[in-house]
């Protein structure tokens, strides 16, 4: 095949082959062949090389045919990218086109870019053919395509080839600078990006004059008409600032920094969202800016002492900027319409708050408003900012803030609640009122979201520990309360409030002995009863036994040595301060306390499960002789128990295990059906079963086999082999009964056989006698094409059910379909003849983007297919779901009807045109993914 194609390819290309040799069609066709040859993984290297060489030669021969040249250049680039060994030859061929007409030069550059991208070596290859003169002449080209492509190539050269092979840094700077004033915005953007990359690459070594140049150009571009250019320019200003800072090396660059700060501030008032995002991002990265500038950016009113002052930059152009331009930048930022801008503003506020306490203070009141934002992203970012401020100890909370803050503990989003608690842990609370407010807030949180107990306890503990005095006070109050309550018999430790208070109370004296005396012992003894829950929450801080020891010691209870060995007990009895302190430090580092054992457990489970499934399958395998012996009753009983057992296992399984069980169940089902069919055609009294019943059985077998084949992903080849054999057997069975030997059946048989042969040639699986015989029979039949019948009975007798071993690790494609707001009591209303929309909720598991899914809706005779666009679904490949409204058009003229809807997957390899063309349904065969679901309708007029 390969040789044939190659010959044809050469024939198409060779100019002497015929009179109409270089007709464009032939050339195009030759390109198509070349593509096929190159793309095929099995093509040999020599073929590839000769293809490429021939094309390279053809470039010269057919120099006049521009459309061919363009295609060929593009193709050569791709080919060389795919097979680096071809690169040198291709490069030298492509090189000559760079001087040529613009369009070809652009294509040649595209080819170069493809090669450069392909591998690590690619760039040095490309660099070897490009010299400075050439690059410059390309950059000066009047064609946009050429300029943009060479620019892209240059920009990527900065990233890829260390040490810049094509042009020197200074030269690159000039090229980029020159292109930043190009007429085309896209080129300007690319050139700016090039400058940014270059700045990053050179870093501290940059020539200060060049940086100054870049900066001046960037400042000019801040006024560009195109928003994307402006946002790129903001980035460039930001990276220039970094270089100035590095370049200054201790000398005072504060004025420069301030100038840039003000410039960025004025960009934060841009009309374009993208520019604003960039500007705020850049503002966050400005370091060492003066406090007065920072404060000005928080106040819309121009601050007194600096009001008239102007910053004059050092550069020649004398950019004058009034300080007032920075006024209120951040206020505008958090008032922004787009939540992306608000979020980034919050982030920048946090980054700048590190530098100034006063700024942090004032920023906090702005941030507090953001806690009420309706975008979750913004709330989260705000909390993160507050957390950052707290870590730098720049967070001073006031009572008026606390309401807002604690309101977040009741947030709908669990993420926000967690983040709020995380910040609380580090907060310094100025007085007892606020402390109580916080504790109350956390208790309310615990009451509404008991599932978060672990984290809440953890936070409570830290809040208590950080404010010993307050928590000691709280502990005393609690002790009093506890002493009163037992008498009235109302005290329950289950009460979230009590348990939370207990946690706070015990925290106050935790590592320190100083406060112990203040706290009544009764607290500790109560707390000891909550040991499990508390230790679970504090597992990062203290070991369970240590905690118990601690509680027992302070509660005055005798410590039970028996539970742990004496060495450990001894360690705990004298609480080592340093140790615990270090534990506490650890907390701030690692926040996750994921149970680690759960995974192990799962693996263990699946192993156990595998074993039991294996036993079941073995039983199934052993039944085949019984099937052959037509001992129907016994066989069916065995199958039934097997299925029951599998179903039972499936109930408790999840994830991969359930896919596995699903498969096993489906498999047993097939065997059972086959066995049934076998029994019926073998039975003497076959007349007792009508043809129809048999046909139904055959269809069932087909459906189940299809499900096995197409609804499981990642099947081991051995299993696939087995299933194929089963299909073969089923087909033969069907033939033997119905005897219709049409072409389509023949094709199907052939297909299965060729697949079987392929699998056996690849792996170590041997074809069974049965398959061999069938193969022989089929090929005979094909040769003779006469009506020679295949001897079914002999063939069928040959079949034997193999024992199969299951390898796990495959996924099952599953779907779930539900019609929303609909049941027989509550039907959808419709007007006959008009389409009606049905809301479905569809969940799909393990469906890949290549799968074609359909929704089939059947009412009586009419079938409607709706293609499901996976783009509409949310979620990932593992599980996606969506709720969609799909129309059903053929509403019948009836007072009510039931529609059966089901999810189908198109079987990719069954190419037979099965459905009528005009029906618009799937092209190939389909397999059902989920049982049909009924949708009820009632006619609106006849109700």
């Amino acid at each position: 095949m390969e040789r044939l194609l190659l010959e044809r390819f050469h024939l198409h290309l060779s100019p002497t082959s015929s009179s109409s040799s270089s007709s464009p069609l032939r050339l195009t066709r030759s390109l198509a062949i070349a593509r096929a040859l190159m793309a095929n993984r099995d093509s040999s290297d020599t073929t590839r090389r000769s293809t490429a060489d021939a094309l390279v030669r053809a470039l010269a021969d057919h120099g006049s045919d521009a459309s061919f040249l363009r295609g060929a250049l593009y193709f050569l680039g791709e080919a060389a990218a795919l097979h680096p060994s071809l690169a040198p030859a291709v490069l030298s061929a492509v090189r000559s086109f760079l001087d040529g007409p613009d369009r070809l030069a652009a294509d040649a550059l595209a080819a170069l870019a493809a090669i450069a991208r392909s591998s690590s070596m690619g760039f040095s290859f490309v660099a070897s053919v490009l010299d400075g003169d050439l690059v410059l002449s390309l950059v000066r080209s009047s064609s946009v395509a050429v300029r943009s492509r060479i620019l892209d190539l240059l920009v990527s050269s900065i990233y890829k080839s260390r040490g810049s092979v094509i042009l020197g840094h200074n030269c690159l700077f000039r090229v980029f600078l020159a292109l930043t004033v190009d007429l085309y915005p896209s080129l300007r953007i690319a050139a700016i990006n090039g400058l940014i990359a270059l700045c990053k690459e050179i870093g501290a070594d940059a020539d200060s004059l060049i940086v100054r140049c870049c900066y001046n150009r960037a400042v000019e571009l801040l006024k560009d008409e195109d928003e994307l250019v402006r946002s790129a320019a903001v980035r460039l200003v930001s990276s220039c600032r970094e270089l100035f800072r590095v370049g200054a090396k201790g000398t005072d660059s504060s004025e420069q920094t301030e100038l840039i700060f003000v410039q960025l501030c004025s960009m934060a008032r841009d009309m374009s969202k993208q520019v604003r995002i960039e500007a705020f991002d850049a503002l966050g990265n400005v370091k060492e800016v003066s406090e007065s500038a920072l404060l000005q950016s928080l106040s819309k009113k121009v601050l007194g002492n600096r009001s008239g002052s102007k910053i004059v930059s050092k550069c020649e152009k004398e950019t004058k900027l009034s300080f007032s331009r920075a006024a209120g930048t951040f206020i505008h930022g958090i008032e922004d319409e787009h939540h992306e801008v608000r979020a980034i503003t919050c982030k920048s506020l946090g980054m700048l708050a590190i530098f100034s306490v006063r700024f942090a203070d004032e920023a906090l009141s702005l941030l507090m408003d953001m806690l009420n934002d309706d975008a979750e992203v913004v709330r989260l970012q705000t909390l993160e900012t507050i957390f950052l401020m707290a870590t730098y100890d720049h967070l001073k909370v006031q009572e008026k803030h606390m309401h807002m803050f604690l309101g977040l503990l009741a947030d709908i989003s669990a993420l926000v609640r967690t983040a709020a608690r995380k910040s609380l842990r580090l907060m310094k609370l100025p007085n007892l009122e606020i402390f109580k407010l916080v504790i109350d807030g956390l208790i309310t949180n615990l009451e509404t979201n008991p599932e978060e107990e672990e984290d809440i306890f953890y936070v409570l503990f830290f809040v208590g520990k950080n404010h010993r005095k307050f928590s000691a006070k709280l502990a005393k109050d609690l002790a009093k309360e506890l002493q009163i309550k037992p008498s009235s018999g109302e005290m329950t430790l289950d009460n979230p409030r009590i348990s939370a208070m207990l946690v706070v109370s015990i925290s106050s004296s935790f590592p320190d002995k100083k406060y112990t005396c203040d706290i009544p012992a009764v607290i500790f003894s109560y707390a000891a009863t909550l040991l499990g829950r508390i230790s679970c929450a504090l597992q990062d801080v203290i070991h369970r036994d240590a905690l118990l020891a601690y509680l027992c010691r302070y509660s005055g209870m005798p410590f039970l040595d028996k539970t742990s060995d004496s060495k450990e007990a001894g360690e705990i009895c004298s609480p080592p301060n340093q140790n615990e302190a270090s534990d506490c430090c650890k907390v701030t580092v690692s926040d996750s306390h994921e149970p680690q054992h759960s995974k192990e457990k799962e693996e263990h489970l699946s192993e156990e499960l595998m074993q039991s499934v294996e036993v079941i399958l073995k039983t199934v395998g052993q039944t085949w002789p019984l099937v052959k012996a037509c001992r129907a009753y016994e066989v069916q009983r065995i199958f039934r128990t097997c299925k029951e057992e599998l179903e039972m296992l499936a109930q408790s399984a999840s994830g991969p295990a359930s896919a596995f069980l699903d498969f096993a169940l489906q498999y047993v089902q097939v065997i059972q059906l086959v066995a049934e069919f076998w029994e019926q055609i073998q039975a003497k009294s076959s007349h007792s079963f009508g043809m129809v019943a048999l046909e139904i059985l055959v269809e069932k077998i087909d459906m189940s086999l299809k499900r096995l084949t197409y609804c499981f992903r990642g099947l081991h080849s051995e299993i696939e082999f087995h299933i194929l054999e089963l299909s073969l057997f089923a087909t033969i069975l069907r033939l033997s009964k119905f005897g219709i030997f049409s072409d389509s059946v023949l094709k199907k048989l052939q297909k299965i056989i060729s697949r079987l042969e392929f699998l056996s040639s690849e792996g170590s699986i041997m074809l069974s006698d049965f398959s061999k015989e069938v193969s022989k029979a089929v090929s005979e039949r094909r040769m003779n094409s006469a009506s020679q019948q295949i001897n079914h009975c002999n063939l069928l007798d040959l079949f034997d059910l193999r024992q199969i071993t299951f390898y796990g690790g495959f996924k099952s494609i599953k779907g779930e379909l539900r019609a929303l707001d609909n049941n027989s009591e509550n039907p959808l209303l419709y007007i006959s003849g008009l389409p009606v929309g049905i809301r479905y909720h569809i969940t799909l598991c393990n469906v890949s983007n290549n799968d074609r899914l359909w929704l089939r809706m059947v009412v009586g005779e009419s079938i409607e297919y709706v293609f499901l666009d996976l783009g509409q679904f949310g979620g990932n490949d593992d599980e996606r779901s969506c709720t969609i409204v799909l129309p059903f058009y053929a509403t019948p003229n009836a007072s009510s009807f039931v529609l059966r809807a089901c999810l189908c997957i198109e079987c990719p390899s069954e190419n037979m045109i099965y459905w009528k063309e005009n029906q618009g349904g799937p092209k190939g065969e389909i397999a059902l993914l989920f049982e049909e679901c009924d949708v009820y309708f009632a006619n609106i007029g006849k109700r």
Partner: protein, 691 residues
């Protein structure tokens, strides 16, 4: 060319916005508002200033309305139906939908409640609206051949737009009212960076700088909450459209969050109807609403119900939205009469009240007694909260917009005189932009730079893109700036060669060598060169009679003129005596001679490429061939030598290679000796070999 700007209304005042701008012979009326404070002739702009004869159709090109507030659209039916303007009227879709509601409501209040003389009827409004051509945002509308207008989002109220107008090279923006900070239901103004000759902007808050909107919201909610918690009633007089929805969203959210169940009432059907429009026109609202409306349309208020008159004196707390906003009459005045005497109640006032209204009286100090007329007076004991919510931008916002657009001139309208004066001062000093704030019926003339529109050919445009790699590339030296009239095939064409520059300081470094790329570090002067943005393109401006002028690139000129290219060529055919010419074979002789000559030339001349062909040599434009034509027209020194030993070289070159040519000719002349030298050398070599 100049832009002439006639301010018919809202000059140094707030109310009856109306500005007539003439650019390039086109006259556009921006807004056509009425003044709410007057009932006499001052209510409408003085349209007679546009045209004394009343023939508005011929004097105005079009009318553009920015938004539906009465001080921007109020006089429109009067102008079209009574004064008789029939030309095109443009407004955005929401404005077109909402303006008739506003107008009709106003007409009813005026005619039916106050019993005033009708200025225009319902039919007038409907007839007027029928003429309106709706605009969409960022849609460029070609009003006529020269005039383009485009609407940009302005915030302020639903459907408010800023209008960009362009005639020829003159461009301007009329902002109408706008808001630079987004609020709950509307976004912030949004405009492209345009090159403008003139910006006409409102300046309602020319000196106010507002703090964060969150603080304002908090304050308002706190006041309302306090009042209803104390069992009081809250009266919020608002315009039916705009603030009412904004405050309602705010309260509805707050009610939800705080779990309050005090009723919130809307006084009139107008607001309900307006809400319906808001629900439909989601595309014009803020980003947040656009993001969320599929889940919950924020204009579906949960806690809002409609109000009945009987509820005025019903016990218990409530919140009521009533029109009109400045308590100038109508329902809000009626409720005010009932509620003002109780200390428990709260009246919130909008940010701006026109002088003469009760709202204005309440705002200026806290009066205890308000006289409605000679007989009625109201004791005011209730609390008064002034809302600082305003859909107008503050001083900072105005400055930001001007800074962003950076127009050549600014005109302020829609503001108070002293505040406008101080803002004008700021604009001129901080931004350096000339700024004016004309009073009503004054005209401002704005000079604009005259732009002549010329066509350009594609090739010229492409040549403009040529990247300017200053020192890397040598520039074409353009010194001959001459004008010559040439007569071509009967048509007289002025072909003047000119240089189109985007920047005057052309740098002409033609001396530098081609292909000299130095990667040495850049010197200081080069850096400044790099930073400059000189962008020079050479082209030729062709002006033909009755045709638009056209810029063509150099190469295209001849083709365009239909003329042939004439090149001055020098040619000379001269004999050189070659002593040993007999040695060569006749057919190879010429070729060998050329080969020798080529070798010789390449060693003497500094020229990169000498191309050698079978019958001639080529150095740049110099072409040397051996001439066998006896009658060669360029031949000199005929018959001087005998033909056997003489070979004729025919050389031709163009003017710019004069130097090269003379040098080469010299070498050719001396060819003989060279050949002999080389022949000698060739002869000697075998000899040596023999020895």
């Amino acid at each position: 060319m100049a832009i002439e700007c006639l301010v018919l209304g809202a000059g140094q005042e707030v109310g009856k916005s109306c500005v007539v701008v003439s650019i390039g012979g086109k006259k556009i009326m921006f807004d056509c508002g009425m003044h709410m404070g007057y009932l006499d002739s001052r209510r409408y702009p003085d349209f007679s200033l546009i045209s004394e004869t009343g023939d508005f159709d011929s004097s105005l090109t079009c009318v553009v309305i920015t938004h539906f507030h009465l001080d921007h659209v109020g006089a429109l039916p009067y102008f079209t139906e009574v004064c008789g303007y029939h030309g095109p009227i443009y407004m955005t879709y929401p404005t077109k939908a909402l303006a008739p509601i506003m107008l009709e409501d106003y007409r009813k209040v005026m005619v039916e409640r106050r019993g005033e003389e009708e200025q225009f009827s319902y039919d007038h409004i409907m007839e007027c609206m029928r003429k309106v051509i709706p605009l969409d945002l960022k849609q460029t509308v070609q009003v006529d051949k020269d005039l383009q207008i485009r609407a940009y989002y302005a915030g302020h109220v639903l459907g408010a737009a800023m209008i960009y107008a362009k005639v020829g090279g003159s461009t301007m923006v009329y902002t109408g009212d706008y808001n630079m900070t987004p609020d709950r239901h509307l976004g912030a103004a949004q405009i492209d960076r345009l090159r403008l000759d003139l910006l006409i902007t409102e300046s309602t808050y020319a000196t106010t700088i507002r703090d964060s909107k969150y603080a304002r919201e908090r304050e308002f909610l706190k006041a309302v909450h306090k009042c209803v918690a104390g069992g009081g009633k809250v009266l919020i007089p608002t315009f039916a459209l705009g603030r009412a929805q904004e405050l309602c969203i705010l309260l509805d959210d707050y009610w939800e969050r705080m779990n309050l169940n005090v009723p919130i009432y809307f006084s009139a059907g107008l607001t309900i109807q307006a809400n319906m429009y808001y629900k439909m026109l989601i595309g014009w609202t803020s980003q947040k609403i656009k993001d969320n409306y599929t889940k919950h349309n924020p204009f579906d208020f949960k806690h809002v119900c409609s109000f009945e008159r009987s509820l005025i004196n019903a016990p218990g707390p409530c919140v009521l939205f009533a029109t009109p906003g400045m308590i100038s009459g109508g329902f809000s005045l009626e409720v005010f009469k009932h509620w003002a005497p109780s200390e428990k109640n709260l009246i919130t006032l909008p940010g701006y009240c026109v002088a003469g209204t009760i709202g204005h009286k309440l705002m200026s100090g806290k009066p205890t007694r308000i006289d409605l007329d000679a007989d009625t007076h109201i004791d005011v004991r209730c609390q008064i909260h002034q809302l600082s919510f305003s859909p107008h931008t503050d001083a900072k916002g105005i400055m930001d917009l001007i800074d962003f657009l950076f127009p050549q001139h600014v005109i302020l309208v829609h503001g108070e005189k002293p505040k406008m004066a101080s803002l004008t001062e700021r604009i001129q000093s901080e931004l350096g932009i000339p700024c004016y704030y004309p009073a009503n019926n004054e005209t401002v003339l704005i000079p604009t730079s005259q732009n002549v529109k010329v066509d350009a050919t594609g090739q010229f445009m492409r040549s403009c893109h040529n990247v300017n790699l200053n020192s890397i590339q040598d520039k074409p030296c353009i010194s001959n700036f001459s004008t010559n009239n040439c007569e071509v095939s009967g048509t007289k064409i002025d072909a003047s060669k000119m240089v189109i520059t985007s920047c005057c300081n052309a740098n002409l470094h033609s001396t530098q060598d081609k292909h000299c790329i130095s990667n040495a570090s850049i010197s200081n002067c080069e850096v400044s060169e790099l930073a400059g943005d000189e962008n020079l393109t050479e082209g030729i401006l062709v002006m033909e009679k009755s045709k638009t002028a056209k810029v063509v690139s150099k190469d295209e000129l001849l083709q365009m003129l239909g003329a042939e290219k004439h090149v001055v060529q020098f040619a000379r055919c001269f004999p050189v005596r070659l002593s040993n010419r007999e040695q060569f074979l006749p057919h190879a002789a010429n070729h060998t001679t050329l080969q020798l000559l080529c070798k010789k030339l390449s060693s003497h001349v500094k020229c990169k490429y000498i191309e050698s062909f079978s019958d001639h040599l080529q150095l740049d434009s110099l072409r040397i061939r051996i001439c066998s034509n006896e009658d060669c027209p360029f031949r000199t020194n005929q018959n001087k030598y005998c033909s056997s030993s003489v070979i004729y070289f025919c050389c031709s070159w163009s003017m710019h290679d004069e130097n090269l040519a003379s040098k080469c000719l010299e070498i050719v002349n001396n060819l003989d000796s060279t050949i002999q030298d080389s022949n000698l050398a060739q002869e000697e070599a075998p000899n040596e070999h023999l020895q």
